[in-house]
């Protein structure tokens, strides 16, 4: 069960609207390595995770990612305030505007709507955790690229915070993978899935 807290994890206060930038940053809401995919990935994967510490890690990081969806949405929302039709046309925001006005809709920078096809839940402990490590690095790369494209410090500041969280999550998932591997017994040298292949994971 979830409940909502009426606050952001880290403040977002942007003085100057910038619809061109909004179209890039929205990729961390609906793009292939964005926060929505991250949250859905970890929420989906935790059911086949046999170890309490890693169930906790998946649950807690997934919950934080929901908060990051909110932060990215807040950035996009503030970057698209008070736009004139001229600004909308000049910035190329018109292609988004025609379908969504200035509403928040999860798409990639390319315009591709969010898809569950961007993540996996394999039911295999080692496979899922290895994907999670890659996912955190891919999100970090995207934040690095956003930082390369942004001048506005009001935008850079929360983006830097989100980038740092990817590093922390990568570290925690690394520990999660280590916990899973430590739980494989000596007969399970080839890492058969301990969530399904019960015989090979018997303690």
């Amino acid at each position: 069960m979830w409940s909502y807290e009426k606050k952001l994890q880290y403040p977002v206060n942007i003085k100057n609207p910038n619809p061109r930038l909004a179209q890039l940053i929205i990729t961390q809401l609906g793009g292939p390595d964005g926060e929505t995919g991250a949250a859905m990935r970890y929420l989906s994967q935790r059911y086949s995770m046999p170890y309490g510490k890693v169930k906790a890690t998946l649950t807690d990081i997934a919950t934080e990612e929901l908060g990051h969806m909110e932060m990215i949405s807040a950035i996009v929302y503030q970057l698209t305030r008070n736009l004139s039709i001229e600004q909308i046309k000049e910035s190329g925001f018109d292609k988004y505007f025609v379908d969504h006005t200035t509403g928040i809709y999860p798409i990639a920078a390319s315009g591709m709507p969010f898809s569950a096809a961007t993540f996996q839940s394999t039911g295999d402990v080692i496979t899922d955790l290895t994907e999670d490590l890659a996912a955190e690095q891919k999100a970090r790369t995207t934040y690095d690229n956003i930082l390369r494209l942004v001048d506005d410090n009001d935008v850079k500041d929360p983006i830097r915070f989100l980038r740092q969280r990817e590093l922390v999550h990568f570290q925690r998932f690394g520990e999660g993978l280590r916990i899973a591997q430590d739980n494989l017994n000596s007969k399970n040298f080839y890492a058969f899935n301990p969530a399904f292949d019960k015989i090979s994971s018997k303690k």
């Binding site: 069960m1 935790r46 906790a56 807690d60």
Partner: protein, 84 residues
């Protein structure tokens, strides 16, 4: 002392009661009858949470009250049969 199972049932009941009032209050924020009920159930919910978390472990991570162990990570988790 109520069992973990019965206390959890009470918590689910109070939480749902409170949440359903929450939904009603979203569209009727000045309804005094609903607010009175909301406040009353809030108190009962608080007592049930206190009893549960003191004896059976945290429901949210920040409710962990030990200097020795983070009970949050302990099995079972709510999606497991018989644990909800």
């Amino acid at each position: 002392m109520m069992s973990a199972c019965n206390l959890m049932k009470a918590i689910q009941m109070y939480d749902f009661y409170l949440y359903d009032l929450n939904l009603f209050l979203d569209t009727h924020p000045n309804d005094r009858n609903a607010l009175a009920r909301f406040n009353e159930i809030k108190e009962r919910r608080k007592k049930a949470y206190e009893a549960y978390t003191k004896n059976y472990g945290p429901i949210t991570a920040v409710q962990n009250n030990s200097d020795e162990h983070f009970y949050w990570t302990d099995d079972p988790w709510p999606w497991e049969r018989g644990a909800n």
